[in-house]
């Protein structure tokens, strides 16, 4: 026994580094098991069932057009097959009594990290948000999204059926995916696997990407404002260089394809991943908050001739001219944020959506949340509705407007024939926090209204 211990010790000493690595790994694995163990069984029969359904006698809030006070919605083959007051129920359709209920399109959150992090604080093993390095264009969220995250069901039972899930960190974080909140594999969930490239645009005031360096906080020396602008400009130049490199790389590839006599260009996956983005084939999601930073994004988009979306957008309304000129919509994520400056009006961030609306900026409202609180999306829109935005626009800002910004305006975001049947049936306005969801369809599948929360509720509600 003693000898065995001794030999083990010797071995340990020899492979000290390796063993430490194993130890770290085992800690990580144990951590993740404890989470997944709690998830076990929760995924059984949770993907619902397909069929032909007719919601009859309901109030239909189409969003795209007038609300139908007493109508029918038919769902067939995953799509909305018919909508209207005098629509006949097809033979064999499952009838759902919609009396006293309202039908809404499923809500869409265009800025989350759904499925990329289960528990952010203190459980690194469950977090897949940020890759190492500054330029990770080839990191694809769709390859990291955990389809069995407890956040998925918790979110969808509150009427959110589709989200954009984005990686974070560095300057070029990776590519965001758009997913429906149902499916056993990421591919089953995917609406658009690689929707957009996420860039933390260099800012002047520090935070968000490289080259910021406001200084003065955390004990660092305060720096001159002009110096901060210079640093930002340099960081933007560095970013442009990446775009130019990608372009040069792709030209070399194309040239080789035409003429095999040329030297073969070695494959660079990171630059390769930039291909759909450098000429505006697919959108780039730029995080930016302050007016000057948003204007800098607009300038970049104009100069580089790319397709841009602003994520965050606290002061986007102030840069409306630049945004409109460059066709840049805003995914606004700051209803649940405190105003940054002490002398900002208390409702500075509540009012921003209505100011964007008035200035003609295309926008939608998002939680900007990692995952667990994405289900609050309707209340973000509702609060904007209390501070200047019309109730109709508040609803559109989490349905049709979001769909349009995500390039899905013809596929979801309203109750129209031919659109994907992502549908929520509720006992009131879905933006209200007292409203209860009664039925939920994603891709035309009728889903159980269960989640980790209802399961725990059922386990403990009657304990004496």
């Amino acid at each position: 026994m003693k000898a065995k211990v001794k030999s083990q010790r010797a071995k340990l000493k020899m492979q000290n580094a390796k063993c430490f690595l194993y130890l770290c790994l085992s800690v990580l694995i144990c951590g993740s098991i404890s989470v997944h163990a709690q998830n076990d069984g929760a995924e059984q029969n949770k993907t619902g069932r397909a069929g032909t359904f007719a919601i009859v006698g309901a109030r239909i809030v189409t969003v795209s057009g007038a609300t139908i006070e007493n109508g029918t919605v038919v769902i067939k083959d995953g799509k909305i097959a018919a909508v209207g007051a005098g629509v006949a129920v097809p033979a064999g359709a499952e009838k759902i009594d919609g009396k006293g209920l309202s039908v809404f399109p499923g809500m869409i959150d265009a800025s989350t990290n759904m499925g990329l992090a289960e528990i952010t604080l203190g459980l690194a093993a469950s977090v897949d948000l940020t890759e190492v390095g500054d330029m990770n264009a080839d990191a694809r969220a769709i390859k990291g999204i955990h389809p069995h995250s407890a956040h998925v069901n918790v979110t969808r039972v509150n009427g959110i059926t589709t989200v954009l899930s984005a990686p974070t960190g560095g300057t070029i974080s990776g590519q965001a995916a758009i997913i429906n909140l149902n499916g056993s594999t990421p591919d089953e969930m995917a609406v658009i696997k690689d929707f957009g490239l996420v860039i933390n645009f260099p800012s002047v005031a520090g935070g968000g990407g490289r080259g910021g360096g406001g200084g003065g906080r955390f004990g660092g020396p305060a720096i001159d404002f002009n110096q901060a602008v210079q640093r930002r400009d340099q960081a933007v130049e560095d970013l442009k260089k990446i775009f130019r490199n990608a372009e040069a790389y792709l030209r070399a590839k194309a040239a080789y394809a035409r003429d095999k006599a040329l030297p073969y260009p070695a494959t660079d996956q990171k630059l390769e991943a930039m291909a759909p983005y450098i000429h505006g084939e697919k959108p780039i999601i730029f995080s930016a908050e302050r007016e000057r930073d948003i204007r800098a994004v607009a300038k970049f988009v104009g100069e580089m001739k790319v397709k841009g979306i602003i994520d965050g957008g606290q002061e986007a309304w102030k840069a409306a001219d630049d945004l409109k000129k460059n066709n840049i919509p805003v995914v606004y994520t700051h209803i649940y944020s405190l105003p940054v400056r002490e002398d900002d009006a208390y409702d500075y961030l509540f009012e921003a959506p209505s100011k964007m609306q008035a200035a003609g900026v295309k926008f939608c409202i998002s939680t900007g949340n990692t995952g667990s609180e994405v289900r609050d999306l309707p209340y973000h829109a509702g609060i904007a509705g209390a501070f200047g935005l019309s109730k109709d626009d508040a609803l559109k800002s989490v349905t049709l407007y979001a769909a349009e910004i995500l390039g899905l305006g013809d596929k979801m975001g309203s109750i129209d024939v031919g659109k994907i049947a992502n549908i929520v049936v509720a006992d009131g306005n879905i933006l209200e926090s007292r409203t209860k969801i009664k039925y939920l369809f994603i891709n035309g599948r009728l889903l159980p209204l269960t989640s980790r929360h209802t399961e725990l509720f059922d386990s403990f509600k009657d304990r004496k």
Binding site: S34, V35, Q38, E118, I119, T120, L121, G122, L123, A150, H151, V154, A205, G214, G215, G216, R217, A222, D224, F225, N226, Y336, S337, L338, P339, V340, R341, E342, D343, A345, Y346, D347, T367, G368, N369, T370, S372, E373, D376, P378, Y379, G382, I383, G385, A386, K391, L431, E432, S433, R434, T435, K436, R452, H453, L456, F457, F460, K461, R463, K464
Partner: protein, 467 residues
């Protein structure tokens, strides 16, 4: 140097303009007319007036006459509720955690109050009138709390509620174990590091407090001749043992909170509130039996492992078991929308409207021992009132006016004027030489930091729910 002085003088002017109260009528009477009054105890009264005189509600009824000189607020088509009470906040605190020791019962949040913290005004704009300002959760036994009313514009002495019983913060779980923070090289690990160690630290403190109390009892009874030394760490715990100080204990896992209640049973005192208590639904009968209150988030969850079993039905299960439940924010951001958190309780389980409203008014008042003076709309209580544009549980509702003891501390119309004045002032200041950009004269302006924020309870950083 001179320029800098001018700059700071101007900055001070700007900041002090922020601090001005919205309306500085002192103890005058206020008549709120023709409102839908949600009393929080006696249902909702339509087309009703409320008269506040000398800070107290003196009349509730229809067609009340305004006394001479009364401030009359027309609330036709609007709703009135009691002022919201946040039973877990760190607003106003310039320091939150004294985490060097495991037991810091000698510290007081009262010493850290900053009456110019802008979050006070923002909370008023969300209808919050009172708050329990707690020490952080870095250690098993933290500091003494302060129960305040948000009398924005008043000197700091006016904030604490004089007759509120004293309390103290305890904490259990991940924050106390410090396992969510990366260990600092060269800094030894602090005891406790486990849940076993945490409860043992608490037991040790109470054993010492009991012994200390014994030494004083013996001295007072003449058994000993030498007066014991005053111990500022143990004195507050003796007050806990004597039932004179409320214990508010941060914690998540139900087994942990149960351990605390068992410890309290053993030492013969009662826990006032389980703070957070996100798993309290698992031990609702045990909590109900002891008459302990629970102060929760309605539906925040999953931000750390010990919050992974939190469910939005928590309030409902506790309520069904007869537990006094309050809904708190623990966040300067979330504090502004506690009305919507209360509304969610109707959705999850179906708590009736008035009971849901009580969770942000009367229930926290009871938990803090201030229910004799505030928490509901009743004759004789303080005129702590909120006028809402719509039903307070609607997302489309806005706070129009917030009053404390009949004095207006937030008014949306006046706020509109204030921001115009401030914009004008900003314009004037920006034109001054001293504030010109470096290229055109003047010194380099400092880059604004975000906001001068009260220190956060670091371990609770994620609780506000936004990234």
């Amino acid at each position: 140097m001179k320029k800098i002085t001018v700059y700071f003088a101007l900055l001070f002017l700007l900041l002090s303009s922020l601090r001005l109260p919205v309306a500085a009528q002192s103890k005058n009477s206020v008549l709120i007319k023709n409102a839908t009054v949600m009393t929080a105890v006696k249902g909702t009264l339509e087309s009703t007036d409320i008269l506040v005189e000398n800070g107290k509600i003196t009349k509730i009824g229809k067609g009340l006459a305004a006394p001479a000189g009364a401030n009359v607020i027309d609330a036709t088509g609007k709703y009135v509720t009691p002022g919201i009470i946040d039973c877990h906040s760190h607003s106003m605190l310039d320091a939150i955690n004294e985490g060097a020791f495991s037991v810091t019962s000698m510290t007081r949040t009262r010493d850290m109050l900053n009456p110019t913290d802008i979050t006070i005004y923002r909370a008023l704009a969300g209808g919050v009138t009172s708050a329990n300002l707690l020490h952080g959760s870095a250690n098993s036994i933290g500091g003494q709390n302060t129960t305040v009313k948000f009398k924005w514009g008043h000197p700091v002495e006016d904030y604490p509620i004089a007759d509120a019983p004293p309390g103290i913060k305890f904490a259990m779980g991940e924050n106390v174990r410090q396992t969510t923070q990366a260990p600092q090289p060269g800094r030894p690990l602090r005891y406790p590091r486990t849940r076993q160690g945490t409860i043992q630290t608490m037991r040790d403190a109470f054993v010492r407090a009991r012994d200390y109390k014994q030494s004083w009892d013996d001295f007072k009874a003449g058994k000993t001749k030498v007066q014991p030394r005053t111990d500022l760490e143990l004195q507050p715990l003796v007050e806990v043992l004597e039932g004179k100080r409320l214990v508010h204990c941060h914690g998540y896992r139900s087994d942990e909170h149960l351990n605390l209640m068992l410890l309290a049973d053993e030492f013969g005192f009662k826990i006032a509130t389980l703070q957070h208590g996100l798993e309290a639904y698992k031990i609702a009968p045990e909590i109900a039996k002891r008459g302990t209150g629970v102060s929760i988030f309605t539906d925040s969850w999953g931000y750390k492992l010990e919050a992974y079993d939190a469910i939005p039905y928590n309030a409902y299960i506790l309520w069904k078991n007869g537990v006094n439940v309050s809904i708190n924010s623990d966040s300067d951001e979330r504090m502004r929308r506690l009305n919507l958190d209360a509304a969610k309780v109707e959705k999850y389980g179906g708590v009736p409207e008035q009971d849901a409203l009580q969770m942000i008014t009367l229930n926290p008042a009871k938990q803090l021992g201030i229910d004799k003076r505030t928490g509901s709309i009743e004759i004789g209580k303080d005129g702590d009132l909120v006028v809402w544009s719509d039903h307070p549980f609607s997302v489309f509702s806005r706070v129009e006016t917030t009053l404390i003891e009949g004095e207006v501390y937030f008014d949306r119309k006046k706020d509109g004027q204030l921001r115009l004045d401030m914009a004008k002032e900003r314009e004037t200041l920006e034109k001054l030489d001293v504030n010109k950009a470096p290229a055109t004269g003047g010194g380099p302006p400092r880059i604004p930091a975000t906001t001068r924020q009260a220190e956060r309870d670091d371990a609770e950083y994620g609780d506000g729910g936004h990234r």
